[in-house]
């Protein structure tokens, strides 16, 4: 089974042009439900209504507003909004290259695969160059009337382009630093390092399954056969009262010192 490309573009790096196709990397695996009318199980539809009259309002009579002050709204006309939209373009313009560790997890939004579109050599050269150096190329493009910023990187020989969140949207907490007093005790640090060391492993994404999703599907199948399904609930742990004691006990692989499950 193959996936259709969403968009054709070219990656522009200085004066190089690398033709690519863009594919959604996320495949929807979720269990979808439909909303139904309880009485007759007919699908539910939604409409916008005037809250005073309870009358549905036709889509063409609806205006879009933005709140500028509390209680004060300004109407934005479709043509005004259209004037702010970017011009159509096929260019994914690389403007900057940084080490992969310069972008933390807060920025990454949605991943897309890029595939070659006529020049396989250039495509795989680019993927390799980025991956080999652990570089991320920061790119900008406009697609479907929206501007995007993205992170272009190589993974297993292929190119991925993740959209990035905007500077205004990412919460910056860098100015906060823990106070000097109350710094961790050197003995505790040592034990914590040992403990983390015993839990060190390679990251294997395939080792994790969405068990909840599987349970939802199992529930649906059981229900469709008329079965009643019950699952037990779990308890929570009690807080640590002695950090040192718990660290030592953890390293010994012993049971929890301060109680709990």
């Amino acid at each position: 089974m193959t996936t259709r490309a969403m968009w054709k573009a070219e990656v522009d790096i200085e004066d190089l042009r690398i033709p690519v196709k863009l594919y959604a990397a996320v495949a929807d695996a979720s269990v979808h439900f439909r909303l139904l009318h309880a009485k007759d199980h007919a699908p539910v539809k939604q409409q916008m209504v005037d809250p005073e009259t309870d009358e549905p309002v036709a889509p063409e009579a609806i205006r879009r507003v933005i709140e500028v002050d509390r209680g004060t709204y300004v109407v934005i006309k479709p043509e005004e909004q259209a004037a702010l939209e970017p011009k159509p373009s096929r260019s994914i313009a690389v403007e900057r290259v940084v080490s992969a560790d310069k972008i933390d997890e807060r920025w990454f939004d949605r991943p897309y695969y890029l595939g070659p579109d006529g020049d396989d050599d250039a495509y795989f050269d680019l993927a390799r160059a980025l991956e080999k150096n652990s570089w991320i190329a920061i790119a900008h493009w406009a697609m479907r009337k929206k501007r995007y910023a993205g992170a272009l990187y190589g993974s297993d020989g292929y190119l991925l382009l993740d959209t990035l969140r905007s500077t205004q949207d990412v919460v910056q907490i860098e100015s906060i630093r823990p106070p000097a007093e109350g710094a961790p005790d050197p003995r505790e640090i040592k034990l914590a390092e040992q403990l983390i060391g015993t839990l060190e492993d390679r990251f294997d994404a395939a080792a994790y399954k969405d068990e909840y999703r599987e349970q939802v599907l199992a529930l649906l199948e059981a229900k469709s056969r008329g079965k009643v399904v019950r699952f037990p609930k779990a308890a929570r742990r009690k807080p640590t009262d002695s950090l040192l004691r718990d660290l030592q006990a953890s390293l010994k692989g012993g049971r929890r010192a301060s109680g709990g499950d």
Partner: protein, 349 residues
């Protein structure tokens, strides 16, 4: 770009992400867009979850806040009478207006038949696992592929002591490790990575690997392993190499321009509509800003004044009702109320 839009979905988002600020209960209702979301998620993007990080036998109580702000310029819909419109549900057959308790959730089988499930049934599935974020594995930070990263969070220390929090943050940061865990939040299981930087802990939920396509499933040509002699691309990239991310280049100019336009029109008194405050009660999106900075400052700081909070306040926060959102938009003060909240936030969004 590939965000989902429901049929009658009126969001018409102003550029910024259409996805909600809270972790969406993915097994619920995406397909029907806003209809399903509005019923299951109630109102307002409010992610607030409390739990306990455990590593070994050590427990670190934390509160989790979104590291991404809500949409800056949400567009609302205005009717011809100058009132903000509301979304209503109707039966598609008899056109009857429906209240939430007249609506059920159905899973459609390929043969067109439905199995009805209740919220209680779905909720009973989730808490099988405890609410601990159990760090059973620590991996090198750079091993986590960006494509898996989904929603980012900031973790604030909760409880009466920051000792265990600071120890974990310090040790993870020094060893450049990220912790990996699965945990249950708001009725769904998540895979998460915990990061430490600057003495603070952050988290990101991650996609499960079966939620991602592969080059093979897309049908891309086989990757070429052996390198060609042509280094022109690498040389071009190297010319663009910089030491740091340029945050200015990642600004959302579109929303800035949209807001500037709206403010200019207000100043010129063009297309301005004043709307009574009470219409706000039923808004589907309200700015719900939990001031993460002040929460973190307060909790990391040495002088943490224990504020008294009534039981009522704690209980309130666990609700999802519209009227609660204003209360919840204030920074949370005091560890007592937080502990109560911890008991109260296990319900779904």
């Amino acid at each position: 770009m590939a965000t989902k839009k429901g049929g009658a979905h009126g969001h018409h988002s102003a550029r910024s992400s259409e996805r909600r600020d809270e972790p969406k209960r993915r097994t619920r209702g995406n397909g029907e867009g806003a209809a399903a979301e509005t019923v299951s998620a109630g109102h307002g993007p409010r992610a607030f979850w409390s739990g306990t990080i455990t590593f070994g036998l050590v427990s670190v109580p934390i509160d989790l806040y979104p590291a991404v702000r809500a949409r800056r310029a949400p567009m609302r819909m205005l009717g011809p009478e100058g009132r903000l419109l509301q979304r209503r549900f109707y039966c598609s057959v008899d056109e009857e207006a429906l209240t939430n308790d007249e609506i059920v959730r159905g899973y459609e089988w390929p043969d067109g038949s439905f199995t009805i499930v209740t919220d209680d049934e779905l909720d009973a599935l989730a808490p099988r696992k405890s609410r601990d974020i159990d760090l059973q594995r620590f991996v090198s930070r750079d091993e986590i592929p960006p494509k898996l990263l989904e929603r980012p969070y900031v973790l604030a220390p909760a409880g009466d002591s920051t000792k265990a929090y600071r120890l974990l943050a310090h040790t993870m940061e020094r060893s450049r490790r990220a912790g990996i865990a699965t945990f249950v939040m708001r009725g769904k299981e998540y895979l998460a990575a915990i990061f430490a930087e600057g003495g603070l802990l952050r988290a990101a939920t991650m996609r499960f690997s079966d939620e991602l396509r592969t080059p093979d499933s897309i049908g891309l040509p086989r990757a070429r392993k052996s390198g060609a002699d042509d280094h022109s691309i690498e040389i071009a990239l190297a010319k663009l190499k910089a030491d740091d991310l340029d945050r200015e280049a990642l600004r959302d100019d579109y929303t800035d321009a949209l807001l500037a336009l709206a403010e200019k029109k207000r100043d010129e008194n063009r297309d301005v509509v004043e709307i009574e405050e009470r219409a706000r009660e039923d808004d589907e999106e309200s700015a719900d800003v939990i001031d993460i900075m002040s929460v973190l400052k307060e909790r990391m700081g040495a002088a943490r004044a224990p504020a008294r909070a009534s039981a009522g306040e704690g209980a309130k926060r666990s609700d999802q009702g519209t009227s609660e959102r204003r209360a919840s938009s204030k920074p949370v003060h005091g560890s007592r109320s937080r502990r109560r909240t911890r008991e109260g936030t296990s319900s779904r969004p």
